[in-house]
């Protein structure tokens, strides 16, 4: 990579780092792993940076999705993070609220199988279209549709369960 390419890459990461890390964080329920995932994806992007990637954001997103699926394949080797106790978090400060929201989101998303989870994240939270999601996931739009429906169904059940647990 030439110095000018390195500068361009640095600018890209500085501008989009947070956004990309949030995407990774939605795909994996763990801070460290999300960062690992993002670094791996950016590493692959850096390797192809001189090939003038059309859309670096889309490249990183696709890589993140692929890495998530890889990770799901060897999930039995990945340490499962400890169950967060959201009742401990005091909801008084802004940051605490964010943490609580994160732990709830993790809990909901963790109840989904990996493909439903990816579909939900891409379609609902990232706001990708059905066709775009299908392309990222290498599947047909119909599969996206069914995954999304099942995923949301499960997510709703999970939300209701956590709500009940909280109100109990």
């Amino acid at each position: 990579m030439t110095p000018s390419q390195e500068r361009a890459f640095t600018d890209f990461v500085r501008a989009n780092g947070d956004r990309l890390l949030r995407q990774a964080r939605l795909l994996v329920p763990d801070d460290r792993e999300a960062e690992d995932l993002l670094q791996t994806a950016l590493l692959r992007l850096a390797r192809h940076w001189s090939d003038r990637v059309d859309s670096p954001i889309a490249y990183v997103r696709t890589t993140l999705v692929n890495l998530t699926r890889d990770r799901a394949r060897r999930r039995h080797l990945v340490p499962v993070p400890a169950e967060p106790d959201h009742r401990v978090v005091a909801p008084d400060a802004d940051h605490a609220e964010a943490i609580a929201a994160r732990s709830r989101l993790d809990e909901v998303l963790r109840s989904l199988p990996v493909r439903q989870r990816i579909t939900v994240v891409l379609r609902i939270i990232e706001g990708l279209s059905e066709a775009e999601t299908a392309e990222v996931m290498h599947c047909s739009p119909g599969t996206v549709k069914s995954n999304l429906a099942r995923g949301l169904d499960r997510a709703r059940a999970a939300m209701r369960a956590t709500l009940e647990e909280r109100t109990r």
Partner: protein, 248 residues
């Protein structure tokens, strides 16, 4: 944006979006993320192919140059004939130094030719250029010793009277008079005359016996041997303590 028809799922989607928005601040990329990734990429970057090729060429050139320029002066030849018995037996190795100039008594490797076909021979230098060499006949068929320039050459490594008489001759310039130690059988300068000094490929410095031990060549002048520079204890016992030369 959402195209969901089921209002319940739509509501779930909205709540998920709200949760994600609320949770967003917990995920912040480290400020030096680009640097970290670039460093990792630099470490993982494979060596360029042209560099590998250049390195291989450089190594090959260095090895070739080393072989051509800085080759060792030593080489070993296995004695194939009985021409040098009893000094060198068949099958023993002779270590030669190609940088030395032969002197009287040296064993040399010479490149000879017979019937137009080249062959190597290991023989002893008896006379140098300008020497008068011969074995005068004292009684019929017997000669006491080889005579060089009027004086008999001591050859303690040979049985007495081993040499058959041969006439005196003068060695021409830039030539050597060579004899095999096995005087009865050797094909040497008695047969084909003095040999041009340019045909000498090396001067023998030691013999590698059949048991692998090395020894000096009997009757040859003392030469520096390859192992002389090795940092090993000299043979024999530990010498007695001496006072330091400076004295104190």
């Amino acid at each position: 944006m959402s195209t969901l028809t089921d209002p319940a799922l739509d509501e779930t989607a909205t709540r998920l979006r709200a949760l994600a928005a609320a949770a967003a601040p917990t995920a912040a990329a480290r400020p030096d993320l680009a640097r970290v990734v670039l460093d990792r990429a630099a470490r993982a970057r494979p060596v360029p192919r042209w560099l590998v090729t250049a390195g291989a060429v450089a190594v090959a050139a260095a090895v070739t140059a080393g072989m051509l320029a800085g080759r060792s002066p030593y080489f070993t030849v296995i004695e194939p004939s009985s021409a040098m018995q009893p000094s060198i037996m068949v099958g023993e190795g002779v270590v030669f130094d190609r940088s030395l100039v032969p002197a009287r008594g040296d064993v040399v490797l010479v490149r000879l030719e017979a019937d137009g076909r080249p062959y190597d021979s290991i023989l002893r230098v008896v006379g140098l250029a300008g020497d008068r060499v011969g074995c005068p006949e004292v009684e019929p068929g017997r000669c006491v010793a080889v005579v060089v320039n009027g004086s008999a050459v001591p050859e303690p490594f040979l049985p007495a009277g081993a040499t058959a008489p041969f006439p005196m001759s003068t060695v021409p310039a830039a030539a050597l008079f060579l004899l095999g130690d096995n005087r009865a059988a050797a094909v040497d300068s008695r047969l084909f005359g003095p040999v041009p000094a340019t045909r000498v490929a090396g001067v023998g410095i030691e013999v590698v016996g059949l048991d692998g031990t090395t020894r000096a060549i009997a009757g040859a002048p003392e030469r520096r041997r390859p192992a002389d520079g090795d940092n090993v204890d000299p043979p024999g016992g530990v010498p007695p303590a001496r006072e330091a030369p400076g004295g104190r």
